[in-house]
Amino acid sequence: MSDPLLKISDLSISLPKSDGTRLFAVRELNLTVRRGQIAGLAGESGSGKSLTSMALMGLLPDTARVSGTVALNGRDVLSMSRRETTAVRGRQIAMIFQDPMTALHPMLSIGRQMTEHYRRHFRASQSVANARAEEMLDLVRIPDPRTAMKRSPHEFSGGMRQRIAIAMALCCEPALIIADEPTTALDVTVQAGILRLFERLRQELDLSVLLITHDLGVMSAVADEVSVMYAGRIVESGARADVLTRPRHPYTHGLLGALPDGAAGGGGMQPIPGLPPSLETHPPGCAFHPRCPFSTETCKTTAPPLVRIGPNRRIACTPDPLAERETA
């Protein structure tokens, strides 16, 4: 198997807190995205998903400190010069944001926004860039791309805007697309359309996507592999079907159990006891232990490492209480 397109190793991100100490919002994160695959990164609000994506783009706030490596096609993105990162951004890695209402500049025409980075990255003329943009708009099924280019974002509905944002990301033929909650702000019927678009693009363009979402349903629909984050760490990763139907980490298990469909056994709608970890104070040991029905004394003191438990499958849980059921 060839090298993965993107390989994140031991990525940690810390941010200053108001009391002067630092908050480790992402810890020792390991993740790979293979070519032509959609890799999902799931986790609840505040678990560090967006920070991870910002780190990939080099867009973290100045106050953030990063360690680890992020290899894109074998080159470490984190150690690049500012010039190099600017050249990578938008060209090698493109990004799609959560809210299409706010991610498009309200005062610039669609055409302008779709071509400015293309012209820069390819040193292309406006007309070449226009042609490219129209092609991309057509690809994402925006009717009448030529006139659409002249219009402002507010003249489009939410779903259309997200399509435009996707087309914009595709303009420079990036190797990787990071989509941070691309459908969260949309209605389900519209979301379905966007998910289908992703799937089609993957097939037509052999797209590699890092899909970030908190919605396991969305994960299930399009992701090939799923990683689940909790409090800044990846707690479980593996192929989509494995993780979603046979979760091995108690958190993933609990999360699935809380969903109304109750796919992973139980009647569904079973809340995980306790509270989500507070942003400021991570508990020592395994961050999930206060809520975990299986926690042991060691869980309270030592954070379990992410270990491989099968081909392409890892969990960060030392007791691994769900393993028996797996084998059973």
């Binding site: 938008g90 500049h105 005062m107 610039l108 025409s109 302008r112 980075h117 402002s152």
Partner: protein, 350 residues
């Protein structure tokens, strides 16, 4: 810019409708302003006769009666006001008791002096304020930001009238860098009237030496007048830029690999500009009113001085004229600001 201008242009009917609506409300506001200024002049104790006639003349009942008749002071208050409004509709602002000239002519003359001062000051303030604010926002919380913060706070704190004096003392008296007070040197004839603004008129008619002189004379008062506004614009620009820089679309622009200066100048400055324009509209109004302090120090023959003298001499028609003209400028500037806003931001529809 072109495209937004154009799309703004295409929506003109709506805009026009809006503008007309605003102008109608503005006209009502103007009537209100004349009403208030009329009322004010009535509650002011003292008699314009006393202020405008000589010692002996004021003791002569015949002269006083004639004087009252001439300025309509012998009529009942509602009648005086009604006549004023009626003449106003015909564009007649009455006659100043102080200069014995039509108020409209006085205003045209004094206003152009003030407008010139205020416009030059505004240009200075905008140029300096927007650049400083931009730098502060980009270098947020680092030393340039802190420095600019102190400077801009000092700018809004310094008493204009005092700064005017100190600058005059330093640049004129001590350093002899400024040619002094007034609009032009003695004996330099004013350029032919095109707009009434000496600098612009000199430029338009190609009188270069007059232009140089006019610029030399306006520099100091304009700088002084610009200080406060520069502070305001700086702080506003900073805030608006920070706001804009925090937007998702700015992050999106950076994520597209656009260089920092493009992101700042094209993506962030533009929405910030909308806010800056609003505040500069307000600041312009304040500047007109604040000009009276600068004008009094620099013998600048402007509206402020005119207003001040009219108030002192209870020159009724002149006071009402000044109030009216400032209100009209205020209304027009605000309207212009709103329209500009709509041109910049395609989301705004009227």
């Amino acid at each position: 810019m072109m495209s937004t201008l154009k799309s703004g242009w295409y929506r003109l009917p709506g805009l026009l409708r809006y503008a007309l609506q605003r102008l109608a409300v503005g006209a009502l506001l103007c009537v209100g302003v004349t009403f208030i200024s009329f009322g004010l002049t009535q509650v002011v104790p003292g008699d314009p006769v006393a202020a405008n006639l000589g010692e002996r003349a004021a003791a002569d009942p015949e002269i006083v009666a004639l004087y009252r008749e001439r300025y309509g002071l012998d009529r009942s208050l509602p009648e005086q006001y009604g006549r004023y409004l009626f003449r106003l509709l015909q564009g007649d602002l009455g006659e100043s008791q102080q200069t014995h000239r039509p108020v409209a002519a006085d205003l045209a003359q004094y206003m152009s002096a003030t407008l010139e001062l205020a416009i030059v000051a505004m240009i200075l303030a905008m140029a300096a304020g927007v650049s400083l604010g931009l730098i502060a926002a980009v270098w947020r919380n680092r030393w340039p930001d802190q420095l600019i913060r102190v400077v801009s706070l000092a700018g809004v704190s310094v008493p204009t009238f005092w700064l005017a004096l100190v600058c005059l003392y330093v640049f004129f008296f001590v350093l002899n860098l400024s040619p002094g007070v007034g609009r032009l040197g003695p004996g330099t004839p004013a350029p032919p009237v095109v707009t009434g603004l000496f600098t612009l008129d000199a430029l338009l008619t190609g009188q270069w030496s007059t232009l140089r002189e006019a610029l030399a004379y306006i520099a100091l008062p304009a700088l002084v007048l610009a200080t406060y506004t520069t502070g305001i614009v700086t702080r506003f620009t900073r805030a608006a830029m920070l706001d804009a820089l925090g937007n998702e679309y700015v992050r999106a622009a950076r994520a597209k690999g656009l260089p920092a200066h493009t992101v700042i100048l094209r993506h962030a400055l533009r929405p910030a500009l909308a806010a800056i324009i609003t505040v500069s509209g307000m600041a312009f109004g304040r500047m007109l009113a604040g000009a009276v302090l600068v004008e009094s120090v620099y013998s600048w023959p402007g509206l402020g001085l005119y207003a001040y003298r009219s108030a002192l001499t209870l020159d009724l028609q002149a006071i009402m004229g000044v109030s009216l003209v400032i209100a009209v400028i205020y209304i027009l500037v605000n309207l212009a600001v709103d329209i500009l806003y709509a041109v910049i931001d395609p989301r705004i529809r009227y």
